[in-house]
């Protein structure tokens, strides 16, 4: 596996993190290398996933750290049955679901949509274009937040991450027909909320 963060990252974490060789049966160097690779290869995708699911930048940062903390702790139990990215997506979704469960009696999402212009790989050139594009993104994100989590998760994975239904079923642990039904219903809701005309 190639480490995007460079070899320095691997050396750094192998000294920083107490990987347990006896417990996992995998060498410390390999674990450190794997974790650093997973982190660097998936950081943008996972952050975008969490940001789109929560609509809250700071909450996403927190859940992002929680996701990789859990990944780090369960790295030794990863058996390689699923793709690494599938595995890390599953962890992120579990972290998100845990957050919803913990906050079900409070208002879970404040929809503090920040102006998410800073880290976009955008082609908007003028400030006016950037402003319009940002307003549009915020409006779409608001519509997305109006979906209940059971619909929002497949919508984000399908339309934003571009995963197939079978992959989404694998990541979420739901059946394909369940995902299809959720997507169908979510589409109807979004059509109404976004006033889409076919």
């Amino acid at each position: 596996m190639k480490t995007k963060g460079g070899t320095g990252g691997c050396d750094r974490i192998s000294t920083l993190l107490p990987f347990d060789e006896q417990h996992t049966g995998v060498s410390v160097e390999l674990q450190a290398h794997d974790f650093d690779t997973i982190l660097h290869e998936n950081k943008h995708a996972i952050f975008n996933l969490l940001f789109r699911l929560t609509g809250d930048f700071h909450l996403s940062e927190d859940l992002f750290q929680e996701t990789f903390l859990k990944a780090y702790r369960s790295l030794g139990s990863y058996r390689g049955n699923a793709k690494l990215s599938t595995w890390i997506y599953s962890i992120a979704l579990n972290v998100f679901r845990d957050h919803i469960r913990r906050n079900r009696w409070t208002h879970p999402f404040q929809i503090s949509l920040l102006s998410d212009k800073s880290d976009f790989t955008s082609s908007e050139s003028t400030p006016e274009e950037q402003y319009i594009a940002n307003e549009e993104r915020m409006d779409i994100q608001k519509r997305l937040m109006e979906l209940k989590p059971a619909f929002r998760i497949p919508v984000v994975l399908y339309y934003i991450d571009g995963f197939s239904i079978s992959r989404i079923a694998e990541i979420t642990g739901r059946s394909q027909s369940d995902i299809k039904v959720s997507l169908h219903r979510a589409r109807k809701v979004l059509q109404k909320r976004m006033a889409l005309r076919i």
Binding site: H40, K43, E61, Q65, D119, S164, I165, R187, Q191
Partner: protein, 190 residues
């Protein structure tokens, strides 16, 4: 996207429209420092779990919140008990009975109700129910046991023929008894 993921008819068109709109939400990058924050979080978590065995066991710790809660509960219970007890006591002290005495006599001109509740004074006159031989008077009495009788035309004494309890006084006169006790246990000891 795989072919079997495609939809038919209107659903397919709607699918395309939504895909176009949501494409605007793609490509948001993790903020700078996100990787370092993960490593800090892991270090902090490890540090706290490493020191955890040296922490004072939770069950033996002095839990101020628990103590405060228990104290508050005790104070609230005591206050509630005090208020309830007081209100009960007050209601017992103020417990009174409205009693209507009835006596039948078709030849009497006046009938007076006398008893130890009015110190045997002749000031509680009974009145005749119109066009009947029934005489009646109503008094308010506190809880207790009272002796009484009726004085007919200011000279003839009689006990209440309807009363089930009667006692004789030291002059040989027969008085009726009325028992106004709510508690059945108390009544058995009378």
């Amino acid at each position: 996207m795989k072919n079997h993921d495609r939809f038919s008819g209107d659903d397919d068109a709607l699918d395309r429209l939504i895909r176009e709109r949501l494409a605007a939400l793609q490509g948001f990058k993790a903020p700078k420092g996100a990787v370092d924050s993960v490593y800090r979080r892991i270090k902090d978590a490890d540090a706290s779990s490493a020191t955890a065995p040296f922490r004072r066991p939770h069950t033996f710790g002095f839990n101020w919140r628990l103590v405060f809660s228990v104290l508050t509960a005790c104070i609230m219970t005591a206050a509630l008990t005090f208020v309830l007890t007081r209100s009960l006591t007050e209601s017992e002290v103020e417990k009174t009975y409205i009693i209507r005495f009835v006596y039948e006599n078709n030849s009497a001109e006046t009938v007076t109700l006398m008893g130890d509740f009015n110190n045997w004074r002749e000031d509680t006159m009974m009145y005749r129910v119109a066009e009947t031989s029934y005489w009646t008077a109503q008094v308010e009495l506190a809880e207790g046991v009272y002796k009484y009788g009726f004085l007919i035309d200011g000279e003839e004494w009689t006990s209440d023929p309807l009363a089930s309890l009667r006692v004789e006084d030291s002059y040989g006169n027969e008085n009726s008894l009325i028992v106004l006790v709510d508690d059945a246990e108390k009544r058995t000891h009378l």
